[in-house]
Amino acid sequence: MLDREILLEKMKTSPYRPMRSKIIEARMLTDKEKFFRIELEDNTRLSYGPGQFVMVSIFGFGEAPISICSSPTDKGYIDLTVRNAGSFTNKLHQLGEGDIVGIRGPFGKGFPVDNMFGCDLVIVAGGLGIVPLRSLIRYLMHNRNDFGSVQILLGCKTPKDLLFGQETKEWMRRAEIKFNCTVDRADPDWKGNVGLITHLIPGVDINPTRTYAVVVGPPIMYKFVIAELLKKHIPDHQIIVSLERRMRCGLGKCGHCQIEGVYVCQSGPVFDYAQLKKFRGECHEKN
């Protein structure tokens, strides 16, 4: 009975079983966000694309979905950046170099980098949104000639909340990436823009047919940013977003991440606006 053999083979592995992984670097980026560099068991390499996520386990404390913020072109490790926002992430923040966590994944669909070849990119990040986008930006940097112009628009609450501040300088220098930042509230040293991120978009020079806009931020941000991008005539399927949802399995089973009939963990977290438009009213980012 061949079926049974196949079945038994399948049962030997469980998609619920995390891999032993070691934190090889850990540092606070702001007073709320911590950066982790993680090496997987036996130098296993995770085959992932920018925009995908992993389930991170700390036994006894549970498991949570975390965006990968390194690029597949960064070999030998994955990076995660985590905000302290609950009992699991609070525990994760207590861990440091040498500590062990469990990793499952990668899960979901990432940014459609293959479709973006040869195109200009406008990357819009609000707050923590820069975390999954860092994966994309590093990928662009390592494959710079495959893409047209790249501009990053970044918004955060105050200059202190700015993530990857040092790195952005490197992105600008090494990869001819244009970078524009705005804060809600400035401090005396701040010389950049003050105000909403939506105000930066009208000033951006966009050739809509060959431009992909990639937007990641808090739920409230999307509809305003998307409205501005639509004014620039960027086609629906070239406006790309990544959505956050509660997740327990990553396998399209547990039900928590559903938007109407769609499991975000499997069909997302990355969607284009054409897909978003099809939701009848359960997608906060669109409504």
């Binding site: 009992s87 609070n90 525990k91």
Partner: protein
């Protein structure tokens, strides 16, 4: 694995000590527990009373001015303060007193000696001091107590279930009490007890308090479906949940 065992003390205020009794009756579980913590003060199982502790389990409601001073002292010493049982967590049955003007309650209970009695409204602990962990129930459900103890030792918060007792009751495949013509408070009461009472043929008395977001209007439909009077339900609920009477009164009238 652990360097030193945290020192644990038990205290009680206005209560029946029934929750502490649940500890004492744990049997083997209590022995396992003592491998994790050192119990320095527990009147029901030991004679000496240590005053050097890190974790305080506090049973009972606050009902006098001196109670307030005493719980504040306990709070000062304890790194972790746990409200043990309904009286401590919601004021429980003691809350019934708050249904009446204080003077009336005093004279009903103490008659002509009422003037000599020093008493205030019944309060759950968190109305007076900061509470780190809540263990609901009258009495507490030991498997939940163990979960909370583990949380204390692992220094993580205990996530109180925020759904109805019905959920656990259905998982236990009990026959709904309403099908047996009994009023049961399961649909609006916070789970976490594994539907202990219903599993044993009883109904839910609401001893764990309401879920965070109980249905205000919907209760009427239950009454309609099963032909019950609002007053009956309200009375049932008052047994354990009167200390916050204003809120619950609104929900059920």
């Amino acid at each position: 694995m652990r360097k030193t065992k945290p020192r644990v003390a038990f205290f009680d205020f206005t209560d029946c000590e029934g929750c502490q009794l649940q500890f004492a009756n744990m049997g083997e579980g209590l022995l396992q527990l003592t491998e994790l913590v050192e119990i320095v003060n527990f009147r029901e199982i030991m004679s000496e009373a240590g005053q050097d502790y890190e974790v305080a389990f506090v049973e009972g409601s606050i009902t006098t001015e001196s109670d307030i001073k005493r719980i504040q002292e306990i709070r000062k010493k304890a790194k972790v303060l746990i409200a043990l049982g309904a009286c401590a967590a919601t004021a429980g049955v003691n809350g019934m007193k708050n249904r009446f003007p204080l003077e009336l309650a005093k004279s009903r209970v103490y008659g002509d000696k009422a003037g000599t009695v020093n008493t205030i409204a019944s309060l759950p602990l968190h109305k007076v001091v900061k509470v780190d962990y809540f263990i609901h129930g009258c009495p507490v459900y030991i498997p939940e107590v163990l979960q909370v103890v583990k949380c204390v030792l692992m220094q993580k918060p205990y996530a109180l279930p925020n759904y109805a007792v019905c959920v656990e009751c259905k998982m236990n495949e009990n026959v709904c009490r309403y099908e047996k013509d009994q009023e049961c408070l399961g649909p609006v009461t916070r789970a976490g007890c594994n539907s202990w009472c219903i599993n044993n043929g009883n109904r839910c008395y609401g001893c764990r308090g309401l879920v965070d977001n109980p249905a205000a209007d919907a209760q009427k439909d239950i009454l309609l479906k099963y032909g019950l009077k609002a007053d009956e339900i309200l009375q049932r609920f008052n047994l354990y949940n009167d200390s916050l009477g204003e809120k619950y009164g609104q929900e059920f009238k």
